[in-house]
């Protein structure tokens, strides 16, 4: 049952996202079990784990695209999915408003195919957040320049490469000015030679102090960029540590096996 | 409700006309498709104009053209024959497009295999390609049959007493036209749901039986 108070550690700053005792089942099949984690401001957290371990589901539960079976998600002191200070479920409209505070980048980009690059970026800020168009457009142009797409403003998604699409998707998430951005395997459907350009953009964001949660299979990237690594296996958090420790001396046998496989694959 | 037997009789005529036209239309449309694929000069052009023309030709107009128009050029048809020919022409144009795209998309490796065991092009078409195309597209052809049923009221214009014409006649002479029309509509729904059920059954039957392409 939902609690009314966020369990806060007074010695720490308020987390951007705090997940408390979260579980998710699809039918009778448990996909996430008792997940507890806190994402602090300006942290870059990498979610690692084998396919099917529940990384996507966890990210989708954070912004309630998937409704958790039990447990809580707190966003800067407000509880996702519930009316403020009450145990009543939020309406779709209230939920939508909360979602604007969490950006999301998908493995398949999911750019809207009927809109140009610029229109993709300004669509939600104008029509959901109701911000003034001139200001949003100026910002969007700036963001698209930052991800290296200033000359593609009027292109349609079908005219872009995978790497370009994903950079637009990142700009679209940034344009919402949300508190945190969730990235679900942002480079997994890219051709190998396009992975670098997208990772570079993400790395810039991390260095600029954006709060990021990234599900990824790019071990080298995680090692360099993450401030913390969370290792998921079969729906549970198995390890949560700083990347140096995790990659050099994983605590659990599961993590060791996982890393061995990836380092082998990576070496090929 | 007293009119139910009368309506059922009309439905029988509707089904009869549609069924005959469907059966006649299938080989006719196959001939058209083959002629176009073979690019037989002039014939190809004539048929491609024919298909385009008929696809935009309203059925009531076609029925009247055959029944009232042809006697002027010396061809006198009785209404039932004119109606069935009109429906056949109508469906042949649509079905020929189904045949054509199915034949053009038939995997060439199967034909290569047929050629490798010494079949002639004719043999490999009729023995290898045709049976598979027919079975794989049965539901498309039956779908065309439902369009045929829906355009069949056109034959009522020249006096064939199909379901719609009977419903219209009673509705015009009746103080309660609404229930009459609704009953007629329900019979169409029953007929077409039965047809699409049959189509789904056939499709499943062929699918389970062969690993269709």
């Amino acid at each position: 049952m939902a609690k009314l108070e966020q369990p806060i550690d007074a010695a720490q700053p308020l987390p951007v996202i705090q997940v408390v005792g979260l579980s998710k089942c699809f039918g009778s099949h448990p996909v996430l079990t008792d997940i507890n984690l806190a994402i602090m401001p300006s942290e870059t957290v990498c979610l690692l784990g084998p396919s099917g371990s529940g990384k996507s589901t966890l990210l989708r539960c954070m912004n309630w695209l998937e409704r958790p079976s039990s447990g809580e998600v707190w966003l800067h002191g407000t509880q996702m999915g519930y009316q403020a200070g009450r145990k009543r479920l939020a309406s779709e409209a209230e939920l939508a408003k909360m979602r604007t505070r969490i950006g999301m980048v998908f493995q398949q980009f999911n750019l809207w195919s009927h809109l140009t690059v610029l229109q993709n970026v300004i669509e939600a800020p104008i029509h959901v957040q109701k911000r003034p168009k001139a200001e949003v457009v100026a910002e969007a142009e700036h963001l698209l320049a930052k991800v290296g797409l200033h000359n593609k403003l009027q292109a349609y998604p079908s005219q872009l490469s995978g790497g370009q699409k994903q950079r637009v998707a990142i700009a679209r998430a940034l344009a919402m000015k949300s508190d945190v951005i969730l990235l679900d395997e942002p480079t997994s459907s890219l051709d190998p030679e396009l992975v670098g350009e997208v990772l570079a953009v993400i790395q810039d964001l991390a260095q600029a102090g954006m709060t990021l949660v990234i599900a990824t299979h790019e071990m080298k990237f995680a090692e360099e960029v993450a401030s913390r690594v969370i290792f998921l296996d079969q729906g549970r958090i198995v390890e949560s540590s700083d990347p140096k420790t995790f990659f050099a001396q994983p605590e659990t046998a599961r993590a060791r096996q996982f890393l061995e496989r990836y380092i082998h694959v990576g070496a090929i | 409700m007293d009119n139910l037997p009368y309506f059922l009789g009309g439905a029988a005529i509707t089904v009869f006309v549609s069924l005959i036209a469907w059966v006649l239309g299938l080989p006719l449309s196959l001939i058209i498709a083959i002629a176009r694929i073979q690019r037989i000069p002039i014939v190809d052009l004539v048929f491609s104009l024919y298909v385009s023309f008929v696809r935009s030709l309203p059925s009531p107009l076609l029925v009247m053209l055959l029944y009232f128009g042809l006697p002027v050029v010396g061809l006198d048809l009785n209404p039932l024959v004119a109606g069935i020919i009109a429906m056949t022409i109508n469906t042949s144009a649509f079905n020929s497009e189904i045949w054509r795209s199915a034949i053009l998309n038939f995997p060439s490796d199967q034909l290569d295999a047929a050629r490798s065991v010494g079949m002639s092009p004719n043999q490999s078409f009729w023995r290898i390609a045709f049976p598979q195309i027919w079975q794989a597209n049965i539901s498309n052809f039956i779908n065309e049959a439902t369009f045929l049923v829906k355009s069949s009221p056109a034959v009522g214009i020249i006096g064939i007493d199909d379901l719609t014409r009977r419903a219209g006649k009673i509705a015009a002479s009746n103080y309660e036209p609404l229930p009459t029309i609704v009953l007629g509509m329900m019979l169409y729904v029953v007929v077409l749901f039965a047809v699409s059920l049959a189509s789904r059954q056939l499709e499943r039957y062929f699918h389970d039986r062969y690993q269709l392409v």
Binding site: - | F53, S56, L65, V72, K150, L178, I181
Partner: protein, 220 residues
């Protein structure tokens, strides 16, 4: 036997006015049915079974009913309920009832085939409800379904010919009237047929251009 197309030429104004009536009746009917078909998507995708299933059944059933039967429904049925329409309204209402079910079904299947990520990304950006439908879903399914909707428009034009039977003065009715007047059935009906052909070729041409638009948008 000699064909008298000269008599048809004398009746050119009648044919043109019949053609024009067919065009505007169909244009208005198709536009209104497009709107109604779009509105039908709301109950068709409702989360409540009691709303969704009956709508689905209704749309399925409507697509099994011949155009002329619906025309009779409006022509004979409505006056018995105390509602008498002129022949233009009868024609347009028939087209709307007939075509809305097809439009709804065409758009429904386009929606079902819309990649799930499109609405998912929209929800992640805070879109919900009607806004999500209007700004993200609808433009995409209209673009994707445009060629099929174009074919359906041709179907409506062909079926509008049945309106001649309830004496709406459209193109087929005109052809009938001319042949009765001057007894030139073959020439009269073939003229009407050629006019329908031209009309449908124009629509086909338009549809091909839409196909180009669709290829341009492609899959994102």
């Amino acid at each position: 036997m000699s064909l008298r197309f000269d008599l048809i030429w004398e009746q050119a104004p009648a044919f043109l006015s019949g053609l024009w009536n067919t065009v505007w009746i169909c244009a208005i009917g198709i536009s209104l049915s497009l709107i109604l078909g779009i509105l039908l998507l709301l109950p068709l995708f409702s989360h409540h079974k009691v709303v969704r299933l009956p709508t689905k059944l209704l749309v399925e059933a409507a697509r099994a009913i011949p155009f002329l039967m619906l025309a009779y429904l409006v022509y004979y049925g409505l006056p018995s309920l105390g509602l008498t329409l002129d022949s233009w309204s009868t024609a347009i209402l028939t087209i709307v009832i007939y075509n809305a079910a097809y439009v709804a079904d065409i758009l429904r299947s386009a929606w079902v085939n819309l990649p799930k990520g499109q609405t998912e990304a929209a929800r992640a950006c805070g879109f919900t409800g009607v806004q999500l439908l209007r700004r993200i879903v609808l433009p995409q399914i209209l673009i994707a379904a445009a060629p099929i909707l174009g074919n359906q428009a041709i179907q409506v034009i062909r079926d509008s010919s049945f309106l001649a039977i309830i004496t709406v003065p459209e193109l087929t009715f005109t052809a009938k009237a001319v042949q009765a007047d001057s007894f030139v059935p073959f020439e009269s009906f073939i003229t009407a047929a050629l006019l329908y052909w031209v009309l449908c070729l124009l629509i086909e041409f338009g549809v091909q251009r839409l196909e180009w638009v669709r290829n341009f948008y492609g899959k994102a």
